[in-house]
């Protein structure tokens, strides 16, 4: 440790954090956390959901007040920040769901609130478009700066968020999972961009779940677990290994590839026949067997999400029928889909899956209310049942009455799963089941999938994560341009074949 420090001694420490502790009622979110940041470095924070990363950056950006500890910025001591102080000291944070003004242009968003580039009362559009384009180009990104923000693609929106933070000329830039909802190509763009920013002397705190991405971008990595710092690694071949880092995050060895138990796959039970997503698009047909996990692979925008939505009938279909055990069950709305035993878990669980202001127990029972009473809800039965689901899924919550919005992402995803399991459905369509979820919760969710299929039920799993697709699927269909470009049976499932499916190869 001492050796490493001395190597970096010539570098200037711009932030030192000493013994920060943050206690929430019932939980110690951060305990005695020490951290430092050199000028111009990319310092990554990794850890499972709930490890304390978000708490730490919220303290840095002034959203939370720490219970104990102090900061040194430019040698000055601080006990806490307000958001204004943080900004004044040059700390800018780009949150995951930090939403800009949707109905004005990207360039206006970038310079919103930074008066240097605005005249006092009027906006010089020509100038801000030109300036925005210039700083974007310097960082190697090409976005249409005069486009309305909400019309930009998710990745371009992310770039705009980062550019907006940069327009404030920060000394410290905090990026909270900047690559969520990105495909591989755009992740690389972000990594390049982050490296360029750091070379200009801005220090970056970078949070992400994907270890490969972190290893690529980081100068140093700090591992957090249960609110405490486990280790800080300086870039080197040995320490920067995904396996080792994952072990430190979890505290026990894990396999990055989930090893699926062999399960018995039965006869065809579910069939999608001639599904048309657009008036002019080609028909999509496939079958799912009893006890099977059918992987659906596709890049963002390839159409797999639309197929799921059309099957569940939350999106209009232009033809096609759906059969279960030979019977035509084609639903015309989600009410009929649920009745027919189909469930859809979308990626956007906060909007389409959860009732954030309702307690955990009410979220679990909402679809299967019929199971806890005819007209009236038997509250004691509801409590008992939700308690058993909380236990079964290992949902970490201080009480059944806790509102779901207070749970971490992984636990929220488990609540969504519990909700459908309680309804006793036959076909589970799930989109990106483990996106943005920590490794531990991931394994638990995979375990649940296997249990579910072992009972003879089937899963259609739409995913863009290779490892997930390869290790879980009994069969994979690859979607490209709103049609099935390739079907892979056991033995053919590997990364190359999936990738060639993406490109349209056979």
């Amino acid at each position: 440790m001492d050796n490493m420090e001395s190597n970096l001694l010539e570098k200037e420490k711009i932030l030192i954090v000493k013994n920060i502790t943050k206690v929430f009622p019932g939980v110690k979110a951060l305990s005695d956390f020490n951290f430092d940041l050199y000028k111009g470095e990319v310092h990554c924070l990794i850890g499972e959901n709930g490890a304390g990363k978000s708490t730490f950056i919220k303290i840095l950006s002034g959203a939370f007040e720490p219970s104990q500890g102090e900061f040194f910025i430019n040698g000055e001591e601080h006990k806490y920040f307000t958001p204004q102080m943080a900004r004044k000291l040059g700390i800018q944070t780009v949150y995951q769901e930090d939403i800009l003004v949707p109905c004005i242009s990207a360039a206006e968003n970038i310079f919103l609130g930074s008066e240097t580039n605005n005249q006092k009362y009027f906006i010089n559009y020509k100038k801000i478009f030109k300036d925005a384009e210039k700083i974007a180009k310097q960082l190697g990104v090409y976005i249409k700066v005069d486009e309305i923000y909400e019309k930009l693609s998710p990745s371009d929106q992310q770039f705009v968020k980062i550019l907006k933070a940069l327009a404030q000329k920060p000394k410290i830039l905090i990026l909270d999972e900047p690559t969520q909802a990105f495909n591989v190509k755009d992740v690389n763009l972000i990594i390049e961009m982050v490296k360029k920013i750091s070379q200009e002397g801005v220090s970056i705190i970078y949070i992400a779940h994907n270890l490969d991405e972190i290893i690529e971008v980081a100068d140093r990595i700090t591992v957090l677990r249960d609110g405490a710092k486990i280790n800080t690694h300086t870039k080197s071949f040995e320490t920067f290994s995904a396996d080792k880092l994952a072990k430190e995050m979890i505290g026990r060895p894990i396999d990055l590839f989930y090893k699926k138990k062999e399960s018995l796959v039965g006869q065809d039970v579910f069939e999608v026949r001639g599904l048309k997503l657009e008036q002019s698009s080609k028909e999509v047909s496939f079958k799912v067997k009893e006890g099977e996990i059918l992987g659906v692979a596709g890049l963002k925008g390839a159409g797999s999400a639309e197929i799921a939505r059309a099957i569940f009938s939350v999106k209009k279909k232009y033809g096609g029928k759906i059969f279960y055990k030979g019977k035509d069950i084609t639903p015309s709305n989600p009410i009929e889909s649920v009745k027919a035993g189909i469930a859809l878990i979308t990626e956007n669980k906060k909007v389409e899956g959860l009732f954030m202001d309702m307690p955990v127990s009410h979220n679990i029972t909402i679809v299967g209310l019929d199971n806890i009473g005819r007209f009236f809800i038997r509250l004691s039965k509801e409590r008992k049942i939700s308690n058993s689901y909380v236990g079964k899924f290992n949902i970490k919550t201080s009480s059944l009455n806790k509102e779901v919005k207070f749970l971490s992402g992984g636990n929220q995803q488990k609540v969504v799963l519990a909700k459908w399991l309680f309804k006793n459905i036959d076909i589970l369509i799930v989109e990106e089941p483990t996106h943005g979820i920590d490794v531990n919760a991931k394994a638990e969710i995979y375990e649940f999938f296997c249990e579910f299929t072992a009972s003879g039920k089937s899963i259609i799993m739409i995913s863009s994560e290779m490892m997930e697709l390869i290790s879980l699927s009994d069969r994979i269909i690859v979607i490209r341009n709103f049609e099935i470009s390739r079907e892979l049976i056991k033995g053919e499932i590997n990364e190359e074949n999936i990738l060639s499916g993406f490109m349209g190869g056979k």
Binding site: G26, L369, F376, L379
Partner: protein, 328 residues
């Protein structure tokens, strides 16, 4: 090192003590405290305040607002809103008075008013559910429609039925006003519906997140339309109490009630955007407004000043309610 199970247990133990004390952190508790403070101050100024008779008096006077507040709360918890309920009640009362004056029997008239209320609520619900336009605008428009129809029916004159139908508004059983009993019955019904029925739970889910409700296979439109219709039925009941209490109906008799009911619900802790809150809280919201009016009357505050003070209290209560949320 503790494992997660131990931590979970420890946390849940702590919380169980906390949850026993959680009433201290509860909106309804604050409302009751405020009511008590107002009560004590007024009693010191005028001991006549603290009598059972005066309390019944307040309840009787505010029973119509109370019943309408229950409608508003049920709608708001379901993510809706209906600011036409005041004039809907006025229209119902007008129809009732015209029928009685035309010599139609009381029972038929009662049933017709209840049906009219249900149908008007149904129409509101149907438009809101199918158009997906914000209910504020729809019901604001309907508010004028109802008021206008009541004016047409009135033909420019107040309709006086004198003592033909005093039972609901003025009569008492063992000194307890019947209108108060009706209000309590509606409160009980709303509470039960909200807490113990699947229907109420689904309504709450719709109010919390329509999209997730839709994705959960809940029949969103059916629930929205039916709760507006149910609310209309209760508005019909309020219309009957209204006629009975005053013995005379003007076309704009109900005009003030809707916004007052909205205010009472908000004071009672239901946010304007809905999806949360309790009907019991809204009931205490009504009670607070009622007791304040009564106290101001007893102390001798003029009715103009009362209006100013009520308005200020609505602003104050909502600001206070929001301060709790702004804390970190």
């Amino acid at each position: 090192m503790l494992n997660t199970k131990d931590i979970n247990q420890a946390v849940s133990k702590k919380v169980s003590i906390k949850s026993r004390l959680s009433f201290l952190n509860n909106h309804i508790t604050y409302l009751i405290l405020v009511i008590i403070v107002v009560g004590i101050v007024t009693t010191i100024l005028n001991p006549n305040f603290l009598t059972l008779r005066n309390f019944f008096n307040v309840m009787q006077q505010f029973s119509i607002l109370g019943i309408l507040t229950m409608c508003m709360s049920l709608l708001m918890i379901s993510g809706g809103l209906d600011i036409s309920i005041g004039n809907m009640a006025g229209l119902g009362a007008m129809i009732f008075a015209r029928m009685l004056l035309a010599g139609i029997s009381i029972w038929i008239s009662v049933i017709v008013v209840l049906i009219v209320g249900t149908v008007l609520g149904f129409i509101n619900g149907l438009i809101v559910a199918k158009s997906k336009v914000t209910p504020l605008i729809i019901t604001m428009g309907m508010n004028y429609v109802f008021l206008g129809v009541a004016f047409i029916l009135a033909g420019g004159r107040p309709q006086t039925i004198s003592d033909q139908f005093e039972f609901l508004g003025g009569a008492k059983i063992a000194n307890i006003p019947i209108s108060m009993l009706i209000l309590l019955a509606v409160l009980l019904f709303a509470y039960f519906l909200r807490k113990y029925t699947k229907y109420g739970r689904r309504l709450n889910a719709i109010g919390g997140n329509v999209q997730a409700a839709y994705f959960s296979g809940i029949n969103v439109d059916l629930h929205i339309i039916s709760i507006y219709a149910l609310s209309g039925l209760i508005v019909g009941l309020a219309a009957l109490v209204l006629v009975s209490r005053f013995g005379m109906v003007r076309a704009d008799t109900g005009s003030d009630y809707a916004l007052q009911a909205l205010a009472a619900a908000i004071i009672g802790g239901i946010p304007l955007q809905g999806g949360k809150g309790s009907v019991v809280g809204a009931f205490f919201g009504v009670l607070l407004i009622g007791i304040l009016y009564n106290a101001m009357n007893i102390i001798g505050v003029s009715s103009y000043e009362q209006t100013v003070i009520l308005g200020a209290i609505i602003v104050f209560a909502t600001v206070i309610g929001n301060i709790g949320k702004m804390k970190r």
